[in-house]
Symmetry: C2
Subunit: 470 residues, 2 copies
């Protein structure tokens, strides 16, 4: 146990050095959120499939509750309740597209060194041109339900429900419920509730009002989460326990070309269509998943219907909602419908990451709209959505409500739609006649291997060194 | 799956070459006993403790249901439902005692290469003077409930319920229910039901009558087991399933200095004394385990009372019996008492390995007796036991019933008592005031790690390569 605490202390000190200029001390966050007892009781696991290239190599890390699916190397890390994927790592010869193609000279690996990640999802599909063969995370502390999606990090603190997407961060603080996809950032502090996409072609920016955000996701003085969204996930936490208590579960009924993770919660009725992916730690309750739809890690789909080819990104929450064909619901969005106040989202919509829709009466989003920010009532639709066709006309800049856009709208839409198509492809939504396999087809037959730390002695709470190769 | 079958085929061919002179073909045995479907469903596991030195390194092996506790290396092996211990491996500087001491130049390891072991217990504590640092098993096929106890093997076939103890075998066939501890054997065929101990100082030999043996352990034409003892274990097989279905079990009530494996079956009432070890795959049902007693792997203690410092060696079965203080019950012994026909074994007795006591009325073995062979009624006691004091008088040779002894009786007893003391020591029976720790104290806090094979693809049924170091 001492060595585990020592490891944590060292990471705290290292991250604190990086964040010194912000006068930010991560110690109280870590000490208040880490439950050492649970770190002994939880087991970690990794998946073995014939489809994912593996090179697991954990060192004295505590990786309680983790989930590894592709090549990996983890250093002296304490990764707690984390999901480390690696199923979209690029192979030798693949290209990272920037202005021109950058081909990989060897298979990409995830490397995590001396990091403390806490309740963190790390998803591969990185885009760092400087090290295309290595998806690296160095020494970073991240709070509850953070999404690290293809982002390289070094010495950062990520607040609860933050998402960093396809970028490189160095010595940054990202506030709670902020979504950032902004290339490369050094020594920056991102305010809570910021939704920010920036690249050479366009910029999209929205910031939640403090009083609204505070109602949904806030933090106390030691950066522990609170608020409606946190309460929502907290209330459902114990539903996951049964998944970890037993070795084998009866599989959920699904077509042969769809995958429902045995580590997903499925309550009530579930309709699983063709080419559907329900990832581990997804939560379904009376959910109809139309053909080609997916529910990614930490997403919740409750009393809702996804028409087909719908994407629920990591941490997306869809409650009492009807989602139209081909609609994308971004990271950590909170579509909080009620039985008396359903949410209807039309076809081909893009619900931006970290969008909150929380109506008191039926609310309808028309087809082919971009949706962002905070929508409480019908009239918020005017200030928080725009028809994609109207956005496509924008050539320079646009303000709608609190959202500011600059650049060419058509390029923004084209980029987004391209990414949506890539996500559908990667998840196996487009599988047909044996072609275009994706996670829905390849993640069905994962053998889960379970590892537990030393329960006594000097290394209590840590794992032995382990190397796994195909 | 193809690669798994290919691996098995290769081992069959190799072992067959070794056993060619006996006109012995292992193929029908393997094909009739291996259930490929189960090899996919079963998981393997290994233990991590702060007390056992590990160097696990499995290669494309199927090690379904296995159990590793100390240093190991497993090659391209298919080890099915096996227990590989390694908790009594010697360390650098330890001595193997023969005529003079042979010190080890490095820590001992278990090596298993290209072997197919089936339902096999491999226990360390080897005594091979030629390779003191390596406990090696090469390419061997062993049938149900075989005990390989500190024995090096190469190209052998071991029949059901056979035990090979502290020896080296090369290209041998060991018949069902035979116990052999005979130094080094080349190209030998050991008849079924042989109990044979031979060394430079003495020899002990007993052979079960064929018609009696046939009732308890027999084999059919493809060497599959049948008989009363096989039926006995078969009937209880499903009791183990619950242990493998759940991740965590409520621990059995036991003193802090005793260990009851979470992979042991405990039915009915169980009284666990101080310094008791109940190993994995042991089976207790209404059992009272007196202080310092143990129930080793595959042992069964049912409606019985072990007074204290009693040893139940691997595969020992004690039913409706009262076992006196300090009594040793050897490998695979079958003490088949009934509620109307109890078995009482006195204090300080040595029940030889592979002894069968199967009374129809109360039977009493006096204190300090050596017990062997087959005892059905009170009068068999004359021909199948001897007072240790009487045996100690023997200076040349002795025949009692079908048992033939040669050598000095006192040396035989001294050697046996020394070993019993070593077993008690190793198992933690003599733990006192923090001194003389053993398995009862060190095996309490094992973290079990679970590995599963590829469930699809070319490697279906095999594992990825895995290396685990402290």
């Amino acid at each position: 146990m001492d060595q585990l605490k020592e490891l944590n202390d060292r990471i705290i000190r290292r991250v604190n050095v990086n964040l010194e200029e912000f006068d930010f001390d991560t110690e109280s966050f870590v000490n208040n959120s880490l439950e050492y007892d649970k770190m002994l009781k939880f087991y970690a696991f990794y998946g073995i499939t014939s489809k994912h290239s593996i090179y697991f190599h954990f060192r004295n890390s505590n990786i309680a509750g983790s989930y590894f699916l592709g090549q990996c190397y983890v250093g002296r890390s304490a990764i707690y309740k984390s999901d480390i994927r690696g199923d979209e790592l690029k192979r030798k010869g693949d290209n990272i597209r920037y202005i021109k193609n950058v081909p990989l000279v060897e298979d990409e690996r995830i490397t995590i060194r001396d990091s403390l990640l806490y309740k963190t999802l790390v998803h591969s599909n990185s885009h760092n041109l400087e090290s295309p063969e290595e998806f690296s995370i160095q020494n970073t502390i991240s709070a509850h339900y953070v999404n690290i999606h293809g982002s390289d990090l070094q010495g950062c603190f990520l607040g609860p429900f933050a998402t960093v997407d396809l970028m490189n961060l160095h010595s940054c603080i990202v506030g709670e419920f902020s979504y950032v996809q902004a290339g490369e950032l050094f020594h920056r502090k991102i305010d809570p509730g910021t939704v920010w996409i920036r690249n050479v072609n366009f910029e999209f920016k929205y910031k939640f009002k403090n009083d609204i955000l505070d109602n949904y996701v806030g933090v106390n003085s030691s950066h522990q989460p609170r608020g409606l969204i946190y309460d929502f996930v907290k209330e459902r936490e114990q539903d996951y326990e049964k998944l970890f208590d037993v070795m084998n579960l009866d599989p959920i009924k699904a077509p042969a070309n769809s995958a429902v993770s045995r580590y997903a919660v499925v309550n009530g009725k579930a309709q699983i269509g063709e080419n559907v992916l329900v990832a581990q730690r997804a939560f379904l309750e009376n959910a109809a998943m139309g053909d080609g739809s997916n529910a990614q890690e930490n997403s919740y789909i409750i009393d809702s219907n996804l028409a087909g080819n719908c994407i629920t990104a990591h941490g997306g929450k869809i409650i009492h909602s009807n989602i139209g064909l081909g609609t994308f619901v971004g990271f950590n969005s909170f579509l909080n419908g009620k039985s008396h106040a359903q949410i209807e989202v039309g076809e081909g919509c893009i619900v931006m990451p970290h969008t909150i829709i929380d109506p008191d009466a039926l609310i309808k989003i028309p087809d082919e709209h971009l949706v962002w920010g905070f929508i409480k009532s019908e009239e918020d639709i005017k200030t928080n959505t725009i028809a994609l066709d109207d956005l496509a006309e924008v050539r320079d800049s646009l303000s709608v409500g609190k959202m500011v856009f600059s650049g060419k709208g058509s390029v923004f839409i084209e980029t987004f739609k391209k990414r949506i198509n890539q996500i559908l492809l990667a998840n196996g939504a487009l599988f047909h006649n044996g072609e275009k396999r994706g996670h829905a087809q390849d993640d069905q037959n994962i053998s889960y291997n379970i590892i537990q730390p030393y329960s006594t002695g000097e290394l209590k709470g840590l794992y032995p060194s382990i190397r796994i190769k195909p």
